[in-house]
């Protein structure tokens, strides 16, 4: 059952020719493509939305900046300071339409295959929700669901026009910052795919990372550090001022907690400390730092989380649902000015209790706040759906209200497993330098 060789050769040639048929229509030359790195959505002035696109300038990324500087450019279009990205905003009624309108301003075909971040202003997230954006992202064949979804309290366009330090491409820098911040629990990195998962999950509401531009006068982080380590600005009363001969302070971008959604609409925000509690409960933080104040001395105690195990469940007591959240944390001591020579076991217990109390307060506060919003971001409803589906289907329609009134017991247990390289305090009375 085979053809003679003479007939097979033309057939094989025909088959091979057909394989290049698609090149007639879908040829995409890299030099004719404009890669969008980040998108932003704000409320529009003349139309419903203002969609901003941050587009890579390939010439500048491929060494054009250095070449421009060597050639005596500097500050011109090809100079070392020339922007690596081009930002363009269009007014539109739909996100997808905005992407097509972009073609009016570009000599290249816009492509979303390198999209890394999608920023939405808080105003739009609250008023219009993310449904249209989510629909556009899932329908588009190029956009990756790994693109980070970010909410900003200000304007998304401002964030996309902002050039962060130590990042060639602002969009990529924004994502890198977000992922590092998420590791520490300051926020939760939310790729579009994961957001969509929570959006459609039974008994669970989505959250998204919040990022804001901090003006120079407000660059005081919790803990009293200056806003940016590479800047030698002095700090007085929470305000940063430039010391003589140093670089003047400029605005900075920082992770600013969590945006909480009910359905596709944003209903509130959680600050950084509460974001850490949510992040730990959802198993999303990698190496967060937990803080407390020593009960006797009032000195700060910090510990880095080595591992943790969250657990949430619901119980029925007297026909009423009651939530329970339990968090077991193993941590390494990072800073503690103990008044004893060695850290004694009793003292260690005291520190563990202090850390556990601080974390319990944050967790309880996050719970209370999300209950006020009626947004079950912890997934108590999801637990009920998985474990007792019949009970879930009975309460499903009113879950937001039930969650709002749900009594929840919070248990946090912290174990200090390591003390770092030393177990002695530098300020022990009687030792050199310790009598201060």
């Amino acid at each position: 059952m085979s053809l003679p060789r003479g007939k097979l050769v033309p057939l094989a040639c025909l088959a091979l020719v057909c394989m290049v048929l698609s090149g007639c229509w879908d040829a995409e030359d890299p030099e004719r493509t404009a890669h969008v790195v980040a998108m932003g959505v704000d409320r529009g002035n003349t139309r419903a939305l203002r969609v901003t696109f941050q587009i890579m300038v390939p010439r500048m990324l491929a060494g054009g900046a250095a070449a421009g500087a060597a050639g005596g450019g500097g500050g011109g279009e090809g100079g070392a300071d020339a922007p690596r990205v081009w930002v363009r905003a269009v007014e539109t009624d739909a996100v997808s339409e905005g992407f097509h309108l972009l073609c009016e301003y570009l000599p290249r075909t816009p492509a979303l295959s390198h999209l890394q971040a999608v920023v939405m202003s808080e105003q739009v997230a609250r008023d219009r929700g993310v449904a249209s954006l989510w629909d556009f992202l899932t329908r588009d064949a190029q956009a990756r669901r790994a693109a980070q979804l970010i909410v900003t309290p200000g304007r998304a366009e401002e964030l996309l026009r902002f050039q962060p330090r130590l990042a060639d491409i602002p969009g990529a820098g924004l994502v890198a910052l977000l992922e590092l911040a998420a590791d520490t629990g300051a926020t939760i990195a939310t790729p579009a795919g994961r957001f969509g998962l929570a959006l459609h999950a039974e008994g669970m509401q989505p959250v998204a990372a919040m990022v804001e531009i901090v003006p120079p006068e407000a660059q005081a982080l919790p803990g009293g550090q200056s806003g940016s380590p590479d800047r030698a600005g002095g700090q007085a009363g929470g305000r940063t001022t430039a010391a003589p001969g140093t670089v003047p302070p400029t605005p900075e971008v920082r992770a600013a907690g969590l945006a909480v959604f009910r359905g596709d609409r944003m209903v509130g925000a959680l600050p950084q400390n509460e974001s850490l509690a949510v992040s730990l409960t959802l198993r999303r933080a990698r190496r967060p730092l937990i803080r407390a104040t020593a009960p006797d001395s009032g000195a700060p105690i910090t510990a880095r989380v080595l591992s943790y195990r969250p657990e949430i469940k619901l119980m029925t007591e007297g026909g009423q649902l009651r939530g329970q959240t339990r968090l077991r944390v193993a941590a390494e001591l990072r800073e503690e000015l103990t008044p004893t020579y060695f850290i004694e076991p009793a003292r260690l217990k005291q520190l563990e209790r202090a850390l556990a109390t601080a974390l319990t307060q944050d967790l309880a506060s996050a719970l209370r706040r999300t209950q006020e919003m009626g947004a079950d971001v912890f997934g108590f409803g999801w637990w009920l759906y998985r474990k007792r589906p019949q009970q879930w289907f009975a309460v499903r329609e009113h879950w937001d209200k039930i969650y709002g009134r749900l009594p929840v017991d919070v248990q946090v247990e912290v174990k200090l497993r390591a003390e770092g390289l030393t177990s002695k305090s530098p300020l022990f009375p009687g030792t050199p330098g310790g009598d201060r």
Partner: protein, 387 residues
Amino acid sequence: MKEVRISPGQAALLLFILIWPRYLLLVPSLVAEMAEQDAWVANLMGGFNGVAVVLLLLAVASLAPGKDLIEAAEEGLGKAGGKLLGTLLLAVFLFMTYTTLRASSAFIKETFLRVTPLWANMVLLVTQGIGGAFYGTEPVARAGGITVALLVAGLIPSVALLVGQFDPRLLFPVFARGPLPALRGAPISAFPFGEVVALGMLLPALGGTRRSGPLLAGLLITWVVTGGLLAVDQGILGWYNLSRIPFSFLEGLRVVRVPPLLERIEVAVATIWMLVSFAKIALLFIVQARAAGCILGLGDHRPLIPLLAALTAVFALNVPSQRTVYSRVLFWGGIVSAALQTLLPAVVVLGLLWRRRQVTGSARSGHTPRSTGRRHASPVRARRARP
């Protein structure tokens, strides 16, 4: 026409080629649409259809050695019965070919070649398929072997990337709304498993029941792997997102944040998947042409290959393109096809058994049965009549 034998390994590869392309592309989303939370359970149920069809084909090969399914049907059910069954079988093959052509070309258009018209993709697939079909079963199996090896090689790093995203909690609860959703989804997953019925037209090339071991092993491996992939998909995307996207495995990969070079893995997987689809389309072209050749009593079925290929392509081009309409066509067509995929070989096996019993009875009573299949004497009665 001389029939070229294929090895047991190649037989198992043909089975892979028949199940995988549709499975990776369409089944998870349609099963999730029907079975919702129980999609992965429904998928496991569907695998039984494949086992049933393979066992029935092996029974046919054992009862009518050296004959394909339609020839065996003619032997078991008589000439007219065989032709009727063959026509139904041809309808199932045409449906399988048309849906494969349509789904493959639409996927290429929606995902990679968005400007290229659908007909151009169809021309590409049909030309490749006709070329492969003219080469014959054995070269298709050999080419399929290479593409399946590549597909498996592409899937291993992909699954490794997905493991970090997998959340087993998304697979539960099971049967939260009773077994009905899972039972609704099971026929959808039964359809691609039942596509192994196409091997019924290649039984002479497979070499009879000696191929049973590799075939069953191949089927079990495919069952486990496809079931695992759907469970992984559901554990990453959740059932709702799974039901929204056709090539859900690719969608799962797009959720993973990986370095740019690794992003290309998904393109590699999709490209290799297309190559497996080429092999499947070529195989289906062979099968439908053989079936039509058998029904029409032609000695050489090859002239029918381009004719039937063009017919299915024209039909595939002209069905409504909306996914809602198409998924309904696939759903109801899939249910009917899944039923026929199992029922038709079962009828052939019953016919052959009846025939054999009749022959045995006649031999004992000294009569020779007529070829019309009419019953002359019951073997029981014959035994009783014997002194």
